[in-house]
C-alpha cells in the first residue's frame, strides 16, 4: 500500500502523489510517515523533506521553509511557505 503525500505552497500544489514513505523534518525531530500513520500534526523546521517513492529507493529531497505537516486519514499533507528545487 502507498501513502498519499501532498506538498502545498501558497502559490501552488507542488506534489500530489502516492509514495512509500516520507521523512519530515519536524520541529522536535525528524519523523517518518508510512501508510496508516496515526493522526498527527507538527510544525516543521527548515530542512529537507525526503520522499521515498518505493521501499529501498534513494530518497528525493525537497527543501522546504516554514510550515507544518499534518497526517490524517487521507495521508500526509505538508503545508510549506517556500519550496526549493
Amino acid at each position: 500500500m502507498a501513502l498519499h503525500f501532498e506538498l502545498v505552497t501558497p502559490a501552488k500544489l507542488v506534489r500530489s502523489e502516492d509514495v512509500h514513505m516520507v521523512v519530515v523534518p519536524g520541529a522536535e525531530g525528524e519523523f517518518g510517515v508510512l501508510e496508516g500513520h496515526a493522526p498527527f500534526m507538527s510544525t516543521i523546521r527548515d530542512g529537507a523533506v525526503q520522499v521515498y517513492k518505493t521501499e529501498g529507493a534513494a530518497p528525493e529531497e525537497i527543501q522546504v521553509r516554514g510550515g507544518f505537516a499534518e497526517v490524517g486519514e487521507n495521508g500526509l499533507t505538508v503545508l510549506a511557505e517556500h519550496v526549493e528545487g
Binding site: M41, F68, L79
Partner: protein
C-alpha cells in the same frame, strides 16, 4: 465647420487612441487568465490552512488563546488595510474600493473609534489622502514588482503583526475587491486581526485523536501569522484578477466608443468633402457660362 485637414487629424488621433485601448484590452485578457490561474492554484493551501485552523481554534480556547486570535480586549483603535492597484486604466475599480474603505471609516468614526489607514498599492493614496490626510499611517509599495506574490504578502503581514504586537491598533480590517467576473468586482471589508475563528468542519480525521507536536497552543501560535499571510496573499491575488478584469471591460468600452467617434467623424469628413467638391463644380460651371 472644421476644415478637412482638421477633421482628418482628429480621425487619425482617435484611431491611434483606439489602437492603444485595443492593445490594452488584449493584454488584460491574457493577464486575466494568468491571474485567475494563480488564484486557483492558491486555493488548496488556503483551504487546508483554514480547516486546520478551525480544528485547532476549537481546541484552544479561553485565556490561553494567543493574542492574534483573542485580540487585545479592546476595539478602540482600528486599522484599515486598503488594497488598491498600482496602475490605472481599469475603470471604476479603485474608486469603488476607496468608496468602500471610506464608508467603513465613516461608520467607525461615527461610533467614536480611532481609524488609521495602511495602504497597499498606489492608486488609493490620493483619494484617501483627500479626506483622511492625518489618518494615513504606513504604505506598502507594490509598484516595484511586476506580480505581487507571496513575498509581498509576507512582508505586509509581518509588518501588520509587528504593529499589532507593538500595540499600535486593536482591530485590523482588510479592504479589497472580490473578483466575480470581468464585469463585477465587489469591494469587501473583512476582519483580519484578531483572526476571526474560521467556520469549517472541525477536525480533518473525524473523531480520531490527533497528536500534536509541540502542543496545540504552540502550533496555533505559529499558524496564526501564517493565516494572516494567506489572507493578505489572497487579497493580492484577488486585486490582480480584479484589475485585469476591470481593465478588460473598461478598455472594451473605450475601444467601442472610439469606433463610434471615428464613424461620426468620417461621416462629417465625407460631407464636408462633398460640399467642397459641389462648391468647386458650381464655380467652374458658373465660370464657363460667363464665357
Amino acid at each position: 465647420m472644421a476644415s478637412l485637414k482638421e477633421l482628418k487629424g482628429r480621425i487619425n488621433s482617435v484611431k491611434s487612441t483606439q489602437k492603444i485601448t485595443k492593445a490594452k484590452q488584449m493584454v488584460a485578457a491574457a493577464k486575466l487568465r494568468k491571474a485567475q490561474a494563480a488564484a486557483e492554484a492558491a486555493r488548496p493551501y488556503a483551504e487546508r490552512l483554514s480547516a486546520v485552523m478551525a480544528s485547532l481554534a476549537g481546541k484552544v480556547g479561553g485565556d490561553s488563546a494567543p493574542r492574534l486570535l483573542a485580540g487585545t480586549g479592546s476595539d478602540q483603535r482600528h486599522l484599515l488595510v486598503v488594497v488598491n492597484t498600482d496602475k490605472g486604466l481599469c475603470g471604476g475599480l479603485n474608486a469603488n474600493i476607496v468608496k468602500a474603505a471610506k464608508a467603513k471609516a465613516r461608520a467607525l468614526i461615527a461610533e467614536g473609534k480611532d481609524v488609521q489607514f495602511y495602504l497597499v498599492g498606489k492608486k488609493g493614496r490620493a483619494p484617501i489622502k483627500r479626506d483622511h490626510a492625518d489618518r494615513i499611517g504606513q504604505q506598502f509599495d507594490t509598484s516595484t514588482v511586476r506580480n505581487p506574490g507571496f513575498e509581498e504578502a509576507e512582508a505586509i503581514a509581518d509588518e501588520l503583526v509587528e504593529l499589532f504586537e507593538a500595540g499600535k491598533f486593536d482591530v485590523a480590517h482588510l479592504v479589497y475587491p472580490i473578483f466575480k467576473s470581468a464585469l463585477a468586482q465587489d469591494p469587501t471589508v473583512q476582519q483580519l486581526i484578531p483572526v476571526p475563528a474560521p467556520q469549517g468542519e472541525a477536525g480533518t480525521g473525524g473523531d480520531a485523536v490527533v497528536e500534536y507536536e509541540p502542543d496545540e497552543e504552540a502550533i496555533l501560535e505559529e499558524l496564526l501569522p501564517r493565516y494572516v499571510k494567506t489572507q493578505v496573499f489572497g487579497a493580492l491575488l484577488e486585486i490582480a484578477a480584479s484589475e485585469q478584469g476591470a481593465s478588460m471591460t473598461a478598455m472594451d468600452n473605450a475601444t467601442r466608443n472610439a469606433g463610434e467617434l471615428i464613424n461620426k467623424l468620417t461621416i462629417q469628413y465625407n460631407r464636408s468633402r462633398q460640399a467642397a467638391i459641389t462648391t468647386e463644380l458650381i464655380e467652374i460651371i458658373a465660370g464657363a457660362e460667363a464665357l
